[in-house]
């Protein structure tokens, strides 16, 4: 009996000691389980501390939906189609007083890709930024932006052909800007990446072709590099003029026939670009006009075709290809704009086939946070039927967003 009482007392004492110290099953370092409802005016966990369950330090979130319906005639795709082109989810927050981080995940309804996940470190001093992670190539005026942010339905032909539809690399980039005078800012960026080759477009079934690949491990001299210098100045009271030059350098890569197994290595490619942009806003900041030109030179090993038989090495085209894009956009008011974009490129085949793409559009912002775009475009490739596309694009933006400087 006494033994039983002693045992029960010991058990009770032990239990109260356990409650006093937290759950017996608590993992060291984990927050203590809280019992009972939270006190009014306190944080949810009732402990007076921000814990892993607090939402006070949550990042800012955003969603973007991009839906396109179109009709195509000529070319390889004919007929009507509608697709959820992208559902983008993003988050951003300060990491500490010197750095903020963000990510952008994109799905087309079938797969999920992390397009960007990077940190901006500002601790190097005034006007210096070190960017680390996976982020878009800093090239020209349009490669840094997601497709749904472009003023046209698609990225211009010459950029798609020479650089890729979307090019994000994992690496590090340093950029800095300084003032040349009271009205001129000059910025440069230098980046080193594991790869700056375009990734396969998610969800799209493509014709079999030789894919460009870089080795997983490489010497420092074989990293991929980016560089951009741009000057941006006021023109008169309401205008701005920007000049820039950019480069993407891939010093060592291979073309691989993934199905057949053939491979050609030891290749290199460099794309150079020159861009000029003029922008104007009227004195009420509601009407605008923007025009720009980008000229690109694609040199080295520029493309490849599959070998004649499975297992044969791809046939590589080398030399120099040139192309350009020209655009003009007129903002009639904050909600309506019209524009035209023309792009020409010598394709990366042995014959230097020329292609010309023309796109005209009207964009209606229903509000700042969703818009409708109507576009008409033609693609004329030498030796092939001309293709035509009429499209409607609907894009919505939800949550946190910002208006930065378009370098």
């Amino acid at each position: 009996m006494n033994h039983s009482i002693l045992s029960a007392s010991a058990l009770l004492l032990g239990t109260s000691a356990l409650f006093g110290q937290g759950s017996a099953f608590q993992t060291p370092g984990m927050p203590r389980q809280v019992y009972g409802p939270p006190k009014e005016g306190t944080s949810q966990d009732n402990s007076g501390q921000a814990s892993r369950f607090s939402s006070v330090f949550n990042p800012a979130f955003s969603f973007v939906g991009d839906i396109v319906g179109d009709y195509r005639s000529g070319g390889e795709e004919v007929g009507w189609n509608a697709e959820l082109r992208a559902l983008e989810f993003g988050a951003q927050a300060w990491v500490d007083p010197t750095a903020w981080a963000y990510f952008t995940a994109v799905s087309d309804g079938e797969s999920l890709d992390i397009e960007e996940a990077a940190l901006h470190y500002k601790g190097l001093g005034e006007r210096h930024t070190l960017r680390v992670g996976k982020f878009f190539l800093d090239f020209g005026k349009q490669m840094q932006t997601h497709i749904h942010e472009l003023r046209t339905l698609e990225r211009p032909l010459v950029l798609r052909e020479y650089l890729g539809d979307e090019v994000s690399g994992t690496g590090v980039q340093w950029d800095h800007w300084f003032s040349a005078n009271d009205t001129t800012a000059v910025r440069f960026s230098l980046g080193a990446f594991s790869s700056l080759l375009p990734e396969h477009e998610h969800g799209e079934e493509e014709e079999p072709e030789a894919e460009a690949e870089v080795a997983g491990r490489k010497s420092i001299g074989n990293l991929n590099y980016s560089a951009r210098v741009t000057g941006f100045t006021d023109v008169g009271t309401n205008g701005t003029l920007q000049l820039g030059t950019s480069a993407r350098i891939v010093p060592d890569f291979a073309f691989v026939d993934e199905d057949g197994g053939g491979e050609v290595g030891g290749l290199d490619n460099t794309v150079w670009g020159l861009d000029v942009t003029y922008g104007w806003k009227d004195e009420t900041a509601t009407k605008s006009f923007t025009a720009g030109l980008e000229f690109l030179v694609n040199s080295g090993d520029v493309g490849a075709e599959l070998g004649a038989a499975p297992g044969d090495a791809p046939i590589v085209a080398d030399g120099t290809r040139t192309g350009w894009l020209l655009f003009a956009d007129h903002g009639l008011d904050p909600n309506n704009s019209i524009g035209l974009q023309i792009s020409m490129a010598e394709l990366a085949d042995a014959d230097k086939t020329e292609a010309l793409e023309i796109e005209a559009y009207y964009t209606r912002y229903l509000s700042e946070f969703h818009r409708l775009r109507f576009g008409l475009s033609t693609l004329d490739v030498d030796g092939a039927d001309e293709s035509f596309r009429a499209a409607v694009q609907y894009t919505f933006f939800v949550g946190a967003h910002g208006h930065g400087v378009n370098w």
Partner: protein, 304 residues
Amino acid sequence: MRLLTLLALVLLGLSAQAAEKLKVVTSIPDLADLSRRIGGDRVEVQSICKGLENPHFVGIKPSHLVAMSRADVFVQVGLSLEVAFVPGLLENCGNARIQPGRPGFINASDGFAAIDIPGQVDRKLGDVHPQGNPHMNLSVEGGAVMAANILKGLCAIDPAHKADYEARHAAWTRELEAAQQRWKKLGEGWKGRKVCVYHQDYAYLIRGYGLVTLGSVEPQPGIPPTPASLASLIATLRKEKDVCLLAAAWARRSELEEVRNQAGVTLVELPNMCAGLPGTESWIEMMDLLHKRLAEAFGPQKGT
């Protein structure tokens, strides 16, 4: 030789004096005017907006970035008025002196009792501002608050000249008090007068003078009108008499004309910042013109 030395010393002295001036950048010209009035010759002031813009759509120019990178003081209205350009400028200018929380950052609406603070922040309400209507620079009471915050900021960053700033602020306050008497007298008969607005720029004046708002061309702040919303507004206004349509220079002319012509209202173009329309170089002059145009539109005989 002695003359040359003397001249060099004078020039050196002048340049040192010039170098000591505080470089002040403001988001809108109203704040630039108040900074000049309070800062006097101690400040060199530059405004990003020029006076006619819709502040919600101002774009960033290189000169803005350069000015912000060199500034000792940055003054904004706040309340999300300048959300289109100030966050981007602060982020990119790389100037630690003027970041929020630092002495060089002045939020001119601090302590101002904003109206129309949404109970629930939701885009269903349009381009809503979580802290309330941001157009406090168009409030009769707004000038004193902006000036007080600028005075406080300048004294904090340059305490050696506190007495100068306070003296100039006191002189400006006397001008303001005289102006407020003028405005009060002009607005005495305005209570109950009917207005329609394009945007919510003039909400403080409307509330302050007891005007009655019958509708807005923008169905919600920042949302462009649809044919249906315009038709509904016109139908409402047609039932009323003596309605004034209040709009800033940036408002879309075609829609203003449509409402004016179809509803028979009086279109009144008002300044939304100083330095935009002729005769509005200072904030007080801008508010004078605003009251003058309203008084002309309402007419003295129509006072209640």
